[in-house]
Structures are given as C-alpha cells and as structure tokens.
C-alpha cells in the first residue's frame, strides 16, 4: 500500500507538471495529501464492486486498479485513454474495472452510487457500491436526499467523505455549522464514523469494518475521513485563502510520511521503502511516456456515442 500511495502521488505530480506545460487540457484537480483514503478503502474492493468519485478522483481510480497509462492518456485527451478522450480528468470511467465514474458536479453522483447499489440489491448480487466525495458536497440537497433513501432501502453503498476542510476555496467553518459530516448519518439511522484519513492503517481498518457491514446486508455506511488537501483546489490555485502555518503543517500530515514512520517503527528499513518508491516512480514514468505517445482522437468521430442506438447518432444538429 506504500507503493499505491506513491503511485498516486507521483502520478498527480506528473499531471500537475503536464498541466503547467499545457499538455493537459482543462483544469485537473489533485488529491495530493488525501491518498490514504483512496488506498485504504479500495484495498477492500473487488473488481465487481463499483466505484463513483468526484472531480478529485484520480487517486480513487488508480487505487481501484485502473491502468496508469490509460488513465493518464485520458487526462491528456488521447484515443487510448479510458474514455477515448471524451471524458477527461473529471469524468474518468473504467467500466471493466468497476469505475463507473467521476463527476464534475459536486454531489452529482452520490445518488448514482446508491442506484448502483440498488441494482445489486435488486439482482441479488453481492457487490457493493462506493462513492467518494468532499465535505463541500454536504451543502447540496442531493446529499441529504440520497442518504435518506439509501438508509431507507438499506442499500449496500459506502459513502466516503474526504473532509479536507475546504469546499473549493472556502473553509468548512464558513459554509456550515456542522463540524463533522458523519453527524448527518444519525437522523437517517445510518452507521457512520469519523476517522483520521491521513493514517493509512486507520483508514484500512475502518473501511474493512464498514464494508463488512455492507456485505452483510446491514445497510449503507458513512465514513468521514479527515484529511488534508496538500494542493490547491485546482492546478494553479495560489491558495491565498490558507495561512502559512496551515501550509507549513503539510509535511507532518502527509500520509506517505506517516506510513513511512509507521513502517519504520515496525522495523521496515529505509532502503526497502526507497526501493518501493523508486518502483512506483518508474511505473509512472513509463506511463507518462506511453500516454504522451498515444494517438489523439480522430476528430471525424466526434459525433459517435452520443446514443447507444446507432440510428440516433445520425441526428443532425
């Protein structure tokens, strides 16, 4: 899992670099500093489990096992990308791997995740559904509507809130009196817990417990992971709304540094960890080279796949 954290960290560093050079179109959002949530939760998921995520979703997609190159190629808008360049950073889908999608709308796919859980329940399947979202999503009505119906129908859906203390540029104190997102669960009689989301062993244990409850058919679960956005809201955000002290605390809170300390206290050697980090670096580097070499989409095919029914794709605009 140390390796998985580094893969995400280095992958996003590359996204940031490629965005700065103009190779990444649009405005990618990085999850740097929040990797432990993705890795700790996804460690318990099978390929059949489905995952939905937010605009800050690169880490979740990679942690679920999607291919580094195909994911990066999508972020670069290439034909070999997961969505053949139609989706991009905020709309990653890898259906074969159970990644049913990121969304650019805050709180936009919480209900979709519940719907996927409903489909599993209705069809008597054993898979579960997981959705990652930020604390900013709790301001949306769809969040509350979805919690209500998910609890009412006892749907096997895990709501994972990454509470990084910011809704875009505004701190949590400024947009809600409710400090902990997990406290929204109780009125709907949903199980919930708030944990330290930057400590991988903590996330791993809490996610295992929550997912066990889901797999036993005992309804949805809201897991609030207190975390820390080491990057800005988007690539290029100067973050003038955050204090120097807050930004200085980054290294202390970094989930990779923390896992490293944890492992070294338990006898793992520095050079073993360095080797793991180096391996992740090479994998990411190879993915970058492969993705950058991938072909760009054929512009003559821009009207394909608006509909599934082939006859409908010929609709003149």
């Amino acid at each position: 899992m140390y390796h998985a954290l580094w893969r995400i960290r280095l992958f996003e560093a590359q996204v940031q670099r490629l965005a700065a050079t103009g190779e990444v179109p649009g405005f990618p959002h990085l999850s740097t500093g929040q990797e432990a949530v993705a890795v700790g939760v996804c460690a318990h998921l099978t390929r059949d489990d489905v995952l939905f995520t937010s605009h800050r979703g690169h880490g979740h997609v990679l942690a679920k096992g999607s291919d580094l190159k195909a994911t990066l190629a999508e972020i670069l808008g290439r034909e070999d990308g997961l969505c053949r360049g139609r989706g991009g950073s905020m709309h990653l889908v890898d259906a074969a791997n159970g990644v049913l999608g990121a969304t650019g709308v805050v709180a936009g796919n919480l209900a979709l995740a519940a719907g996927a859980a409903w489909a599993a329940q209705a069809q008597g399947k054993q898979n579960i559904s997981v959705v990652f979202f930020g604390d900013g999503a709790t301001g949306a009505g769809a969040f509350h509507e979805t919690l209500n119906v998910a609890a009412l129908w006892r749907l096997p859906v895990l709501f994972v809130c990454e509470n990084n203390g910011y809704a875009e540029f505004t701190s949590r104190e400024e947009h809600s009196n409710v400090t902990h997102v997990s406290s929204f669960a109780a009125p709907y009689t949903m199980a919930a817990k708030t944990i330290d989301g930057n400590d991988l062993p903590t996330v791993f244990a809490a996610a295992r417990e929550a997912i066990e409850i889901l797999r036993n058919g005992a309804g949805p679960y809201l897991l609030e992971c207190m975390t820390f956005r080491m990057a800005g809201h988007y690539v290029g955000d100067a973050q003038q709304y955050r204090s120097k002290e807050e930004l200085a605390a980054i290294r202390d809170k970094c989930p990779i540094e923390r896992l490293k300390r944890h492992l070294m206290e338990r006898g793992v050697k520095q050079d073993e960890l360095d080797t793991i980090g180096e391996r992740a670096k090479q994998e990411v580097q190879q993915a970058v080279e492969a993705a950058r070499a991938a072909p760009r989409p054929d512009a003559t095919r821009v009207l394909e796949d608006v509909y599934r029914s082939p006859s409908l794709n010929a609709i003149p605009g």
Partner: protein, 329 residues
C-alpha cells in the same frame, strides 16, 4: 374495446414488467398507483420490489434510476409533473444524458422517465407547463410525446426497449381519452413521425395533445374547402425531418402548433430547419401557433384565454393560405 390513455399506459407497463425482468418502476406513490392511477395494481402483481415507492426526492430518485441503469436495470421512473423535473435537471442533463458519451461508449443508460405535462383543469402555473424544449436541447436524451392512447402504448414499449435515456411526456388532457388498441400492433420505431391526416393544401406539424387540436382544426378547415395534412411528430428527438420534407413537398405551406410558449419552443427549431433545408419548397413563411409568453393562469377563463387550440390553428392556416377564416363558435 376502447381504453383510456391511463389504462393503456398501465397495460404497456404491465406487459413490459412481465416481458423483461430487468424493468423496474420507480417513483413517488407508484406502488399505490401514482397520482393519476397509471401504475395501479402493478405492485400487487409484480411485487413491491419491482414497483417501488420513493421519497419526494427528485434529484436522488433520478440519480438512483440512472445509477441502476448503468448496472443492468431498465428503470422506468415517474416524475409526477414535468414541472418537478426542474429538481432532477442536474442529473438528467449532466449525468443521464452524457454518460454514454463521456465514457467513450463504455456505458449506456437504458432509462425511461415518464412524466406528465400540459395545462388542463386549473392546475395553474406550477403543474401545467410544457417544458419539452429544455430537454430537446440536450444531446443524449430522446424526447417522446405521444398524441393518443394507442400511440402511447407502442411508443412507451419502444422507449423501454430502446436502451438510451428517454423523456416520455404524457399530456394530462389526454389521460381520459379513449381509444381501441389493435391486437397485432407492433411498437413504432423511435424517431418516425406519422401522418395523422392526409391533406394537400397546408401541413400542420404537431405533437402530444396538440395533435387532437390539429385534427379538429383540419376538420373545420375541410368544411371550408381546405385540405390540411396533420403530422404527428411522436418524437421530438430525434426529429423526423424526412417526414416533414415529404409533406412540405406536397403542400408548400407549414404551420407548427404546440402548447408550449412559442418563444424558444420546439417550433422555432423546426421552422429554422424548414427554412434552411426546404426553402425552395415554401410558398409562404412558416407560421407557429403556441402559448403567448406568460405562465399558465389558474382561473378557467384565463386558462382558456391563454392556451392555443384548434381555433388558433384554423385562423393561422387561413392566414397562411390568404383566406378569410371561417366562423367558429
């Protein structure tokens, strides 16, 4: 034997539930029959897992239906009034409509959103709107607006079997209309208009309940010696331009009628397409009949004053032909 629009919708849903185990009905009060009784008895027959009541949470239930459609179900979601689709717009526009495309063709959303629209009986400003143009504007959605019970039967079945997201708009004024159903009726393909009445002097393009008004108008016009052809579009997306072109080539005069406000309405799009693609066929500018730019009022006298109907179609058709309008009661 004749059946009402409501009974025929119920029959179509009943048959599709029986035919395909992945079809599920979802919506506010649907297990109890729904606000208009369309789904009455279906929960008893098919079980309350297949016909499922939801909280009054349009955003969430539209998301639920969309997510389930991504994972193997074919949900038929009821949004009680199209006016409340406003609460589901984020999902419909940003997720449901775009999933196929955004995923590069990996996923599809076989979802039908049944909703009920239009003005009748003092339902007033928030339960009477005709908002179809909003959905016509969103690539990825199919928009169906049947004009009669028999039409609704086939089109609903086709919509459920299509495999793409469909907004299925039922006009409340049609709910009590009765019609017989042919035993061997094959569901019509999505995207094919029909000629509801053949004629040679003027083409009246309509959909949903306005087809009834257009047929009434054609009858009045016939008595005045004018032969009007009525095209029932059936689907607004896709739009059957071939059927429109064939008719315009016969009549050379076109009138488009809908209950929605004219401003930015579906008629504007059709008129523009005709103007661009069929300009040489036209003997006169395309005319539109629709609601003036105002909300639907409550008082019956005001509602009647605002809503377009057969009388407006007759008047507009005569104007188009340079004739004096026949006296109408």
């Amino acid at each position: 034997m004749e059946h009402t629009f409501i009974e025929i919708l119920r029959r179509a849903l009943d048959e599709e539930l029986a035919r395909d185990a992945s079809v599920y009905l979802l919506g506010e009060d649907v297990a109890a029959g729904g606000a208009f009784g369309v789904t009455k008895g279906l929960a008893q027959k098919h079980g309350d897992k297949r016909v499922r009541n939801t909280p009054i949470s349009e955003a969430a239930i539209t998301g639920l239906a969309t997510g389930a459609a991504l994972c193997g179900l074919k949900p038929v979601l009821e949004i009680m009034f199209i006016d409340f689709a406003t609460l589901a717009m984020d999902c419909l526009v940003n997720q449901t409509a775009k999933y196929r495309y955004m995923s590069g063709g990996q996923l599809a959303v076989p979802l039908v959103v049944r909703t009920q629209a239009g003005a009748a009986g003092g339902a007033a400003a928030q339960h009477s709107q005709s908002l179809e143009a909003w959905f016509v504007h969103v690539p990825g959605l199919v928009v169906v607006a049947p004009s009669s019970p028999a039409e609704a039967y086939g089109l609903l079945k086709s919509a459920i079997r299509l495999g793409d997201p469909v907004l299925f708009i039922e006009h409340k004024r049609l709910y009590t209309m009765k019609e017989a159903l042919a035993d061997d009726a094959e569901p019509p393909p999505i995207g094919k208009a029909r000629i509801a009445r053949a004629g040679k002097d003027v083409t009246v393009i309509a959909y949903s309940a306005m087809v009834r008004d257009a047929l009434e108008a054609a009858e009045i016009l016939a008595r005045a010696g004018v032969s009007a052809e009525v095209i029932d579009l059936r689907t607004l997306v896709p739009l059957d331009m071939a059927a429109i072109a064939a008719s315009v080539a016969r009549t050379h005069r076109v009138l488009i009628a809908h209950e929605a406000v004219r401003n930015g309405g579906v008629g504007a799009e059709i008129a523009a397409r005709i103007g661009t693609e069929l300009f040489d066929e036209l003997d006169a500018p395309v005319v539109r009949v629709g609601c003036p730019f105002a909300p639907i009022p409550f008082a019956p006298a005001l509602e009647r004053a605002l809503l377009p109907g057969s009388r407006d179609i007759v008047r507009a058709a005569c104007q188009l032909l340079g004739l004096e309008a026949p006296a109408q009661e």
